[in-house]
Amino acid sequence: MRPIIETRGLTKTFGNNGVAVHALRGIDLTVDQGEFLALIGPSGSGKSTLMAILGCLDKPTTGSYVFDGNRVDGLSNPELARIRNQKIGFVFQLYNLLPKASVVRNVELPMLYAGVRRKERRRRALELLERVGIPEKAKSLPSALSGGQRQRVAVARALANNPAMLLADEPTGALDSKTGHEVLELFSELHRQGNTIVIVTHDLSIAALASRQVEIHDGRVASESKVA
């Protein structure tokens, strides 16, 4: 199967007035299409930095990163924005929805930046809300929704442009265990439908749901394990 992510010797150094902080010290990672991968590690391990680079939110200091068949480590900001828009769907711990915009408009937003026509945007957004199980909340504001429902909105938004990969950063971190579990069920369901999913978490029980776990420690890949 074609790899969706392929990194070689990825490093990231933050320079703070001459004091260099090495967040990543050479990550070699390959993620195949259709995989459900969990990136685990304690806080400060560099997994968030890795997630930012894998999500094209940040650029590596050195090393190569091939995403969906294209080198992306040297791309300009607008080019990275285009990749985030078209090929990556983000789900954040704190949902990161626009608080004043209705649920359906939040879901439409990535399509707005992709230049999808208005009617098509609306049609597809409603379809996605149906898919994540909250079609009746389309006109509500995010503040009127429970945490689990908000995260569903975030998942719907992440799926808006049919991305090549879903990237979730502690998606259940702010939810109680029951709703957290429901959201994870949603991810599993999406995985079964063929989506590539990368979840960043420090919770091993969540990681257990993934088909493969990669542990990051001190900016390096510490161990890998694969569930059959």
């Binding site: 939110l57 607008p78 924005a81 285009r82 990749i83 983000f90 626009l98 930046y113 208005r118």
Partner: protein, 415 residues
Amino acid sequence: MFSGAFRERVRNSWVEMRENPARAGLQALGVILGVASVLGGFSISDSQRRRADELYVRLGGLDKLNVQPNPIVNDGRPTALQTANLGLRAQDATDGIDLDKEVVAGASQIKGATARVRSAYADQERRVSGIGGEFLATEGYEIAEGRPFSNEDLLYGAPVAILGTEAAKVFFPHGDALGATMRIGGVPVRVVGLFHERVFRFRKDQNNIFRWRNRIIAVPATLVTRRFEGDAYQRLDRVTFKMRDVDVIAKFSKGLSGLLTANHRLQQDFRLDDVAARMRRRRSQGDAYNLIFWLSGILSILGGGIVNVNIQMASLKERVREVGVKMAIGAPGREIFKEIMTEALLVSVVGATVGLVAGIGFSKIITGAIGIPLYMDPKSFVFAFTLALAFGFLFALYPAFKAARLSPMEALRYE
């Protein structure tokens, strides 16, 4: 410019404005106040000026050129040539008309005198106006009853008079002036006409500044020069040329000056007074007020802009996270920039429109309070609107630029 993408952006900004009514409302408030005060200031000064123009129209129009005698001997004895000069005469008026019939509509002549005026009811010393030519049209008088002076009256100095309303009331309090006889100096004069009352108040409750015009006792200029005051040459106090067009006055006055100098034996014993030019000079004084209005308008729109920047700063935290989210889901920096600029322009357009309406109301109230008719120049609308848009654009540039330069990671983590 009005491509689908632009329409989309405007629509999106409109939705975002509606989603953030407090932010948009406060931003628009500065624009509204600025535009209203610019428009109000302009309209009030335009209305004042329009009122002043009306005054001149009621005085017989701006398209006039006055010729008045000008003493050239200030000191010592006049030279023989000066003594021999004939001065300003009826001849000058007719020659002036003949100079260019294309541009001159007519000329009026005035020769005043002070005389004892008597009727059965009153006996006063009064100014008497000897008039000739197109006096009525040039000075804005209208006949209410009776008739104007005929050409024969003017030519032969017939003993006839036309009275203003005040003069008629004083000398004939019972309203039987027309056809009555009164004595001016030693001459019995028959009243052949009565003028309309003339009224002009700058503001509603002000005095009638045309009051003294109703005191007029008009007789043919030839009667004055022959029987009351004057000399063998029948000199006049003033000749006024009425022009067909304001723009030709300057050119005509050059020609007239040459003609009169020749007529007056090369003595510059007259002066030309271009009424339109005098009006322009008055107007240029009004420009100072305009400048003040401009400045105060610009300052208030500037103030509005600073309010805007403050609001942008206050909502920065919210905004930065918003920008971070938008960037994460794929909005490039220049899209963020365009979004913020579009929103700012939209706020300015909406604010300026409301401001124009507020400005109209404001001007109505002020002009109503001082009692002059409201006049609004379309140019003021355009100016106020453009100014608001320009400032709205300028003040949005910095925040928009800052937001566009954010890195998505920093923006997402911003607390």
